[in-house]
Subunit: 155 residues, 2 copies
C-alpha cells in the first residue's frame, strides 16, 4: 500500500536532512535541495567551494551533485511508494559538454528514471532491483553535463 | 626538447600544491599525493570526511579522487615532457565494484594511459590532444572501483 501523499516541500526538506546528515562532504559542497514538486528534483551548490583553477566548476563537484540527485530522486520515489531500502550507485557515465560558471544545479525528472513501476514491482518481490537514472546539469548555453547512473536498491 | 628529469617526490609535492591550491574541494576531501615514482601515482584521502551513511566511502569522493588522479598523471607527464596546458576531463565512466571501507587510495600507472607518445606528438603539432586514462581504487578484496576518463589537453 502506498503511503499517504506527502507535501513535496516537506519531502525536499527531509531529503536535505538525510543527505547533509549522513554524507559529510555535502556540507563542504554546500548542497541544498532547491526544489521538489513531486516530479522534478533540483539540487543546488554554490560556486565558491566547488570551483576549479579556471573558476568554473570542478568536475568532481558536478559529478557529486549529479550522483546525489539520482540517489535523492530514488529515495523520494521509494518513500512515496511506502518503501525504503539501501540505495547504491553501481555504474555511472558522465559527459562534460561545456564548463559550468556560477552556481551548480543538478536536475532530474521522474521521466528521467527507467521504468519505475517495474523497478518497484521487482523490489517488492525480490528485495533487490536496479534502475537507471539520468541527471542533467545546466550551463549558460544549455545542457553542460549529462550523467547516467545505474543504481541498485536492496533491503 | 624534454625538460631535465625531476626528482619524483619533488614532482609529487608540486602536484599536491597545484591540486590543493587551485581546487578548494581537495582540502575538504583531505587529498594528499601519497607517492609518485615516475611511473605510478597514488592519491590518498582519509576515511572520515569521505564516508557515507553506511560508513563506507561516498561515491562522489571516490570519483573525485579518481578524476584527480587521472588529471595529476597527465600534469606530471606533460611536465616531464617539457610541456604544459589546460587539462580537462571530457567523459568518464565509473564502475563501483565493491564498497570501500577505511582510507581511500586512487592509483594510476603510466601503462594505464593511452598512447602517451602519440598524445604528446599530436599536442605539439596541433596544440590540442585527447588521451584516455584508467584509474583504480583498491578495496579489501581487490579492485573496488574502476574509473576510465577521457581528457583533452589544450594550450
Amino acid at each position: 500500500m502506498p503511503a499517504p501523499a506527502q507535501d513535496p516541500p516537506a519531502e525536499a526538506q527531509a531529503l536535505e536532512q538525510v543527505l547533509r546528515g549522513e554524507i559529510p562532504l555535502t556540507t563542504a559542497i554546500g548542497l541544498r535541495v532547491e526544489s521538489y514538486d513531486g516530479s522534478e528534483l533540483v539540487l543546488y551548490a554554490p560556486e565558491e567551494p566547488n570551483r576549479n583553477h579556471k573558476r568554473t566548476a570542478f568536475g568532481g563537484s558536478l559529478y557529486s551533485l549529479a550522483v546525489l540527485a539520482g540517489w535523492g530522486m530514488l529515495w523520494l520515489k521509494l518513500r512515496e511508494a511506502g518503501e525504503h531500502g539501501h540505495i547504491v550507485v553501481q555504474t555511472s557515465h558522465a559527459d562534460y559538454r561545456e564548463p559550468v560558471a556560477g552556481d551548480l544545479r543538478a536536475r532530474v525528472e521522474e521521466e528521467d528514471l527507467g521504468n519505475l513501476d517495474k523497478f518497484l514491482d521487482t523490489y517488492r518481490r525480490r528485495g533487490r532491483a536496479r534502475i537507471r537514472v539520468e541527471v542533467g546539469i545546466d550551463g549558460k548555453g544549455g545542457r553542460a553535463m549529462d550523467f547516467h547512473g545505474r543504481y541498485v536498491v536492496h533491503r
